[in-house]
């Protein structure tokens, strides 16, 4: 009975079993790439790691709605779950992580997590938090002007809503009913600052003040995220305007490899959230629905781990960027 009800849930969402497997695959793959990054960091091969761990459901559930190379993505630094889903590779991630010449995002110029992919319409990401929001509205406006059905997905953490850029973009999107989906991955912390000292009221509730819908959803439930995002994408595609989604989730790792989170949060809190791990949770769902047994899981994981190991090895052996590379490519040629 319980099973039938949950099964009907994904069916109601129009998802096939294959879709479910892909959602699972992409979450797990992102996690494994991330885990490997920390090992490389401990080995002294990666100067800086910034993680997606804990946020894979929010990322994969939302980005699953994107049509790569058609819609646009403005990811933030934790969104490797999105960029991998769209077509970036573990190799690429590790090349970037180690500042290698072949880094697909920036040729070794940017820190890891600053994604960019012209072919996939992943717009070059930056470090100043929040700048992506006005840019995303501009990209959406271009779609609207040309009467195309493209959608722009723009993402950030909950602290990215504190700066003016978020608001200016929300207002602009509301005025012109732009085809843009705002995804806020509220993972409770901004480095050390808890959401209570960061956000007054409610992020999701703010959308109403701009005249469009906002939804606060369980960001660790990949189907809930997919559902909210699908609705938002449909709204955008049909010209009805923007949607704000606040995915409530949690940052399982420290802010980055430079951060020591014992200064500001209790271990128990993290342990509690580990129990709500979005991947374990989805695996349980799949198992309950007879879509995943231990063996299948092991097989998929083994495949992913092999890919990750190969990618990491490749990147490790790849050449560093040349010193003089720092000098080139300041201006595009007229």
């Amino acid at each position: 009975m319980a099973i039938r009800e949950t099964r009907s849930r994904y069916e109601a969402l129009g998802l096939s079993e294959d879709d479910l497997r892909r959602l699972h695959y992409h979450m797990l793959r992102a996690r494994r790439v991330d885990e490997r990054s920390w090992i490389l960091n401990r080995q002294g091969k990666a100067a800086f790691v910034i993680s997606c761990q804990g946020q894979e459901a929010a990322q994969v559930g939302a980005a699953y709605n994107l049509r790569p190379g058609h819609d646009y993505l403005y990811p933030y630094y934790r969104d490797s779950g999105m960029t991998l889903l769209l077509g970036q590779t573990p190799r690429g991630q590790f090349l970037s992580l180690m500042g290698k010449k072949e880094d697909p995002n920036s040729g070794g110029r940017q820190m890891p997590g600053h994604y960019s992919d012209r072919a996939l319409n992943i717009v070059t990401a930056s470090a100043p938090v929040g700048v992506q929001y006005p840019q995303a509205t501009g990209t959406a406006l271009a779609f609207k002007m040309r009467k195309e059905d493209g959608v722009v997905l723009v993402c950030g953490g909950e602290a990215s809503t504190s700066g003016g850029d978020w608001h200016e973009a929300m207002n602009f999107a509301g005025i012109h009913d732009l085809p843009v989906v705002f995804l806020v991955e509220n993972n409770v912390y901004s480095i050390s600052t808890p959401a209570a000292a960061q956000v007054a009221g409610s992020i999701a509730a703010r959308a109403e003040g701009y005249g469009f819908p906002g939804h606060a959803i369980d960001g660790n439930d990949v189907l809930a995220v997919y559902e909210a995002a699908r609705e938002a994408f449909e709204r955008a595609r049909s010209g009805d305007g923007p949607t704000l989604i606040e995915a409530k989730t949690y940052r399982i790792t420290a802010h980055s490899s430079d951060d020591d989170d014992r200064r500001y949060r209790e271990r128990e809190e993290i342990e509690e959230w580990r129990l709500k791990d979005p991947i374990l949770r989805f695996e349980k769902y799949l198992a309950e629905n007879g879509l995943l047994d231990e063996e299948q899981k092991e097989a998929m994981d083994a495949e992913i781990k092999a890919e990750v190991a190969e990618a990491s090895e490749y990147a490790d052996n790849a050449p560093f960027a040349d010193p003089e590379d720092v000098l080139t490519g300041v201006y595009a040629e007229v």
């Binding site: 646009y72 880094d103 995002n105 920036s106 040729g107 110029r109 940017q110 600053h114 960019s116 992919d117 012209r118 717009v123 070059t124 930056s126 100043p128 700048v131 929001y133 006005p134 840019q135 995303a136 509205t137 501009g138 990209t139 959406a140 406006l141 271009a142 779609f143 002007m145 040309r146 493209g150 722009v152 003016g164 850029d165 200016e168 973009a169 207002n171 602009f172 005025i175 490519g329 300041v330 201006y331 595009a332 040629e333 007229v334």
Partner: protein, 328 residues
């Protein structure tokens, strides 16, 4: 070909680009029905519609940020900042974002936007409608900063800016909008970004100036020629960043004396950089101190007329600086 002032020339440059390229559009505060507070965009909304000539909310970071996003998705936006003084909220989007799209993506993404901003002291403008904002931006690799003074140059350079795959900050001195008229070619006239212009040949002193100061300098220079036989070579950078060092250095090497004039507060203005280049690269040719003239180091021009007039470098001060060099 018709005779036009700076404002008309810029308007025409915009209109022509919009006619020839559907992806060119204008956005900014009050650029639509009102045609902009200086009326540069007047009539464009009637011709091109409210989407391609869009009134934005009062939010400069959004104006530039959305222009960036538009450019990423096939458009060629020309963003208007109503007064240069109010470009500050967009500082992040300009220097940290637009200027770096190309470099940080290792050449994958370009950011072909143009940002028009009126600058310079004007009567009644007070502290916040008067600033010379060049120096804030002339240290940002990836960005180009142009400040043409004459109408024909301005029209041609605006077109170059719009066609440039890089972000270009296009500065217009408010007090020169209607100052003179000159023949402005209808189409096809090209002035590349990055090339200075020698307005007047001379053998005794090299003067670099732009904007209102260029007009004042050109007047003073004629007077000096007539009254004292001092022949000053006048160079207008037109592009402030990156600078056409060669033209400036060639001139100094000929004259041996150098003065750069800017209306900005002297300290930290672009005249420092220009003077430093001359002091480093033309040292052996110099017969006198590398001289600079600018406004005093106070926040900006004041509202009250006597204060404002005292603030802006006057013809008398410019003449005195030239005479001092000539006598040196």
């Amino acid at each position: 070909m018709a005779t036009k002032n700076l404002l008309q020339a810029i308007h025409e440059g915009l209109a022509e680009e919009m006619r020839s390229d559907d992806s060119v559009m204008v956005l900014g505060e009050d650029v639509g029905r009102a045609g902009g507070v200086f009326r540069v965009t007047q009539g464009l909304q009637d011709e091109f519609g409210p989407a391609r000539v869009m009134d934005t909310p009062l939010a400069e970071s959004l104006i530039i940020g959305s222009a960036i996003g538009l450019s990423v998705n096939g458009m060629r936006p020309v963003a208007e900042i109503q007064f240069g003084d109010f470009i500050t909220p967009a500082f992040d989007q300009i220097v940290n974002e637009a200027a770096r799209f190309y470099y940080r993506s290792n050449g994958a993404w370009t950011c072909p936007i143009t940002i028009r901003a009126p600058y310079g002291a004007v009567h009644g403008g007070g502290l916040y409608h008067s600033q010379s904002i060049e120096a804030w931006f002339c240290n940002t690799p990836g960005l180009k900063v142009v400040a043409p003074t004459f109408p024909a140059d301005a029209k041609a350079m605006l077109k170059s800016a719009i066609r440039d795959p890089n972000p270009v900050l296009f500065l217009e001195h408010k007090r020169t909008y209607r100052l003179i008229k000159e023949d402005v070619p209808d189409n096809g006239h090209e002035v590349p970004i990055g090339k200075a212009r020698v307005h007047r040949e001379g053998t005794d002193i090299t003067v670099v100036a732009y904007g209102l100061m260029l007009y004042t300098a050109l007047e003073v220079v004629e007077k000096l020629s007539g009254e004292h036989g001092i022949e000053v070579e006048v160079v207008e950078p037109r592009t402030l960043y990156p600078l056409d060092k060669e033209t400036i250095l060639d001139s100094v090497k000929k004259t041996g004396k150098f003065l750069v004039i800017s209306e900005a507060n002297l300290t930290g203005s672009v005249s420092g950089e220009i003077a430093a280049v001359v002091a480093a690269e033309a040292f052996e040719w110099l017969d006198a101190p590398v001289s600079r003239l600018g406004a005093p180091d106070v926040p900006a021009a004041a509202f009250s007329r006597p204060m404002m007039d005292y603030f802006v470098p006057s013809a008398e001060k410019i003449e005195a600086a030239m005479m001092e060099l000539a006598r040196y």
